[in-house]
Amino acid sequence: MLFELDNVCLTRAGVRVLDQLSAQIDRGATAIVGPSGSGKSSLLRLLNRLADPDSGRIDYEGRPITDRDVLALRREVMLVPQLPALVPGTVSDNLDFAARLARRETINGPQAQQALLAAGLDASFGDRDTARLSVGEQQRAMLARALAVEPAVLLLDEPTSALDAEATARVEEALAGLRRRRDLSIVLVTHDAGQAERLADAVIRLEPAAGGSRARAAERAR
């Protein structure tokens, strides 16, 4: 068991986003699906402690998630947000930035190339200025940046939301390849039921409750 959530409640901006949510996330690939506003991204943020729940318990690898040093946890359980937020400079600068933050060392050429390829970008992207990339390319650069740190768990928030069908296929192929080649677990938030089906071993569905923005784990598939 990778994560276990028990009766988790979360309020954001004065609105109850998650209400008594209980769910289990195993190793492998898990998709979190549900309509807009059902708390998918908020749930993902709880898993690397960018936020903490108001109440309830979250365990990571059988121990309360708060037992871990929060910085070490984030380097191990890496979140890639939906909106690209790269630092100014080249894509390589960003990979180096992530590696220095996470491992306190610079990244070498072959490691950078490997991260770029794994994110579906060819090696020439390393020298590209991030300000001149399309949103889709920025999303993949964000994924490459996270992979440069070699996390154990990747939390992906709508990783293909800005991509066309061809680029989406490339990213999905890259993610499938990553899982085959490395012992990497993935928790993926997606609107795309087909993508959840293609990539995930399990699906957690969040459903807003009658009261408005309440949500709970409703079903587990496959």
Binding site: R12, A13, G14, N48, R49, L50, A51, D52, V70, L71, A72, R74, R75, M78, L79, V80, P81, L83, A85, L86, V87, F97, A98, L101, A102, M142, R145, A146, V149
Partner: protein, 258 residues
């Protein structure tokens, strides 16, 4: 120092003629600044007149405790005023008070310690007022920018935290830009001193009939301590205030609900 200039109240009022022109232009161009110009004129008249009497009392008493109290009041009022420009920064008051206090203490300690001024009210009050005023402006600009930075760059800051960065590492680019904003105006005006504008102390001394070389040297001392103290103030207030955007667990706090 003898001042060979007598200024009547009528002359002060006549100087308002130019302000009337500025207000007229503001109304004509619809910049919506007439009210602010009016408030600035009235407030400056009342405040300067009142402080004139207060300073007179303090000079007559010649007691350093009164000087300390006056500067403490200036720091408190300066911090309160600057906080209004830093509404987006949670808990800005304490960093501002500490920043302004340190700027005042460091500057006055230096000028007295170096023997530039005697520890007397007639020196400490104007220098203290000048330092606190400039430090207030710099800190207000810096914290205002810091608030904007955290509002505009929340996604980038959180994405950096998500990589395992500390709150200090995630905030560093915003902190740098805020510090730059707070101090750049004074740095630029210091660069152009003597070329484009004559600073107040020098103008005052020349008008009062002082030797130009003495006026320049005193002005240089004040410019340098001002540059240092303003930088200290912005640095302290920004370095303390940015922490209020984060929890102890390196999480970005939710902005307060309107």
């Amino acid at each position: 120092m003898s001042v060979g200039i007598d200024v009547s109240l009528e002359q002060v009022l006549a100087a308002l003629g130019l302000v009337a022109v500025a207000a007229g232009i503001a109304a004509w161009r619809q910049t919506d600044l007439e009210r602010d110009i009016g408030i600035a004129v009235v407030r400056s008249f009342i405040q300067l007149t009142a402080i004139g009497y207060v300073i007179q009392l303090i000079f007559d008493a010649d007691n350093l405790l009164f000087v300390f109290v006056l500067i403490a009041v200036m720091v408190a009022f300066g911090a309160y005023t600057a906080r209004a420009r830093a509404r987006k920064v949670p808990g800005a008051m304490l960093p501002l008070v500490l920043g302004l206090s340190l700027a005042a203490v460091a500057t006055l300690g230096l000028v007295v310690g170096l023997g530039i001024f005697e520890p007397e009210a007639r020196f400490l009050v104007p220098v203290g007022g000048m330092v606190v005023g400039n430090a207030m402006t710099a800190s207000a600009v810096a914290l205002n920018r810091l608030g904007d930075e955290f509002e505009d760059s929340a996604a980038r800051i959180e994405a950096t935290l998500a990589l395992g960065a500390t709150s200090h590492e995630a905030a560093l680019p915003s902190v740098r830009r805020a510090l730059r904003s707070g101090t750049i105006t004074l740095i630029d005006s210091t660069k152009t001193t003597g070329l484009i504008f004559f600073p107040g102390t020098m103008v005052g001394m020349l008008l009062a009939g002082a030797d130009p070389v003495d006026a320049v040297r005193l002005q240089l001392i004040l410019l340098y301590v001002l540059l240092g103290s303003v930088s200290i103030s912005a640095l302290v207030s920004v370095s303390l205030a940015y922490r209020n955007f984060f929890t102890a667990e390196h999480q970005l706090r939710e902005p307060p609900q309107p």
